[in-house]
């Protein structure tokens, strides 16, 4: 943003008058984001298509017709993560290119609302992505029945998605106004995603096996706790730090 260089640097964060409450602002922003996505369909169809294509590529790369256990959990998580990266890359592009940041900063609203709204937006994109990708995975590659695994899978994916959404939003905001935004985003995000992959894949892999115990979804609590703790810690950190990215 070229006009920034000549402006005087503010020494402290500007105090915003909270004329509009946080959740109302979040609601308004969220509605705008989802409307834009519904009208332009820039992110979610691309992400879903990418996931399905990746499954096909995995079939040829691994030379297997069906996978289960660790391999299945790994393929699922890797594909979901890379599809999520696509969404992360696009998350703030419209705001950065079309002055959405400036407009938001001028409004008398709590700045953290943008963070919450963007996290919820990315979360919504991920949920729709998974509604497409998981059945596709079950159809194309999974060698075990999906039904009994569904409960544990949904729980793990929910917790993992929150982590991906939080980290993805923070990283997207950092990368969008730099020179190499499409490259820096994934480079920053992927190492940060590793604990999510660890927790998510280890949690899901006992579910995706043929000889599955009927009844209780046997997801080890340990991994769900790891994911939950990660979400909490980084959710708080990202919430606290996001404002600093929005200044100027």
């Amino acid at each position: 943003m070229s006009g920034v260089e000549t402006r005087e640097r503010t020494r402290e964060p500007t105090h915003t008058v909270q004329a509009v409450g946080l959740w109302r602002t979040v609601g308004a922003l969220l509605r705008k984001e989802l409307l834009v996505e519904l009208r332009t369909l820039e992110s979610v169809p691309g992400m879903s298509l990418f996931a399905i294509t990746t499954f096909v590529i995995f079939h040829f790369a691994l030379n297997r017709g069906s996978v289960e256990g660790d391999l299945a959990a790994g393929i699922l998580w890797v594909t979901l993560l890379f599809a999520a990266i696509l969404g992360v890359n696009r998350l703030f592009v419209a705001d950065a290119d079309q002055g959405g940041f400036d407009g938001f900063l001028l409004a008398p609203v709590d700045r953290s609302a943008m963070f919450v709204a963007k996290v919820l937006t990315l979360l919504a994109f991920l949920v729709v992505l998974e509604l497409v990708a998981v059945p596709a995975f079950a159809l194309l590659l999974l060698g075990a029945p999906l039904g009994p695994a569904l409960g544990g899978l949904v729980a793990t994916l929910a917790l993992g998605d929150i982590g991906v959404a939080v980290i993805g939003t923070l990283v997207a905001a950092m990368a969008v106004r730099t020179r190499a935004r499409d490259l820096l985003g994934p480079l920053l995000a992927l190492p940060l995603f590793v604990p999510i992959v660890i927790g998510g894949a280890r949690a899901v892999s006992p579910l995706l096996v043929q000889a599955h115990r009927v009844g209780v979804g046997g997801v080890p609590i340990r991994w769900l706790l790891t994911l939950g703790l990660y979400d909490l810690v980084f959710g708080l950190i990202a919430y606290a730090l996001f404002d600093f990215l929005l200044e100027d």
């Binding site: 730099t178 920053l188 604990p195 730090l241």
Partner: protein
């Protein structure tokens, strides 16, 4: 003045390193299981510990920067992270050498320290490109601080997560640091202290050098300000100290910050 305690610090570092090397090779007993190879422990583990503490320290310094907006904190954060990255590379290399000596492979996935360090290295390797990709110095410092804080919080999280994932697979390859007999524990502590001093000395050295460069640039701007147009500062990942030199700031003629 950054260079004030540098001489004392570097002399104590040299002495401590000499003492620690002496203790490693002449005082610490040979370990029963791994024999002479175990001596790598006294350089690999302190490097790891110091690198990790350095990354967390970089995050803390970045918090100070965001609170006070003083660029000097950003400079300290930058230097500490840079040095920790170098120590992390040293950890990876020495750990790899140890793995090769112990197991015959240059890389093992079952050693959680090495795996965690690989991930952390990949993360912090993006610090410099991130800085370089932002041209406005103030925004560069701010974004870098946000990154340093996030990554600093990530370091312990990552360690826990990786350790959890390997805990039930294999026993530790390179041995743990608990249950050390007295002589080895003492040698380890001395090595840790020596490498910590080395870290501090190198950081201080680096800060002094950067400050000197900044003072030189300010001097050059002051002298050239009236005759020729001052040369604008080229794009750089290094935090700028343009207004914290001992010279009074120019009212005009310098590049706008």
């Amino acid at each position: 003045m950054y260079g004030k305690g540098l001489r004392t610090l570097s002399i104590s570092t040299a002495v401590a390193m000499a003492v620690s090397l002496g203790m490693v090779f002449f005082y610490a007993p040979l370990e029963a299981e791994q024999g002479f190879l175990q001596k790598i422990f006294y350089v690999h583990v302190p490097l790891a510990i110091i690198a990790l503490c350095g990354f967390v320290l970089g995050g803390l310094l970045a918090i100070q920067h965001l609170r006070t907006r003083d660029p000097r904190w950003d400079m300290r954060s930058y230097v500490v992270i840079h040095m920790s990255l170098i120590f992390a590379v040293g950890t990876l290399i020495t750990g790899s050498i140890w793995a090769k000596g112990s197991w015959g492979h240059w890389w093992v996935w079952s050693e959680p320290t090495l795996v965690s360090f690989l991930i952390i290295f990949l993360l912090y390797a993006t610090y410099q490109p991130l800085r370089f990709a932002i041209e406005d110095p103030e925004r560069q410092s701010r974004y870098a601080s946000v990154f340093a804080i996030t990554a600093g919080a990530f370091v312990p999280t990552n360690f826990i997560a990786v350790r959890l994932s390997t805990a039930y697979l294999h026993p530790r390859v390179l041995g743990s640091t608990s249950n050390l007999p007295g002589a080895m524990a003492l040698t380890f502590l001395v090595s840790l202290a020596a490498l910590a001093l080395l870290f501090a000395t190198l950081c201080k050295y680096e800060l002094t050098a950067k400050h000197t460069r900044a003072q030189l640039r300010a001097l050059r701007r002051r002298l050239a300000g009236e005759t020729a147009g001052a040369t604008p500062r080229p794009r750089s990942a290094v935090p700028s100290l343009q207004h914290v030199t001992t010279l009074p700031a120019r009212a005009s003629g310098g590049p706008a910050l």
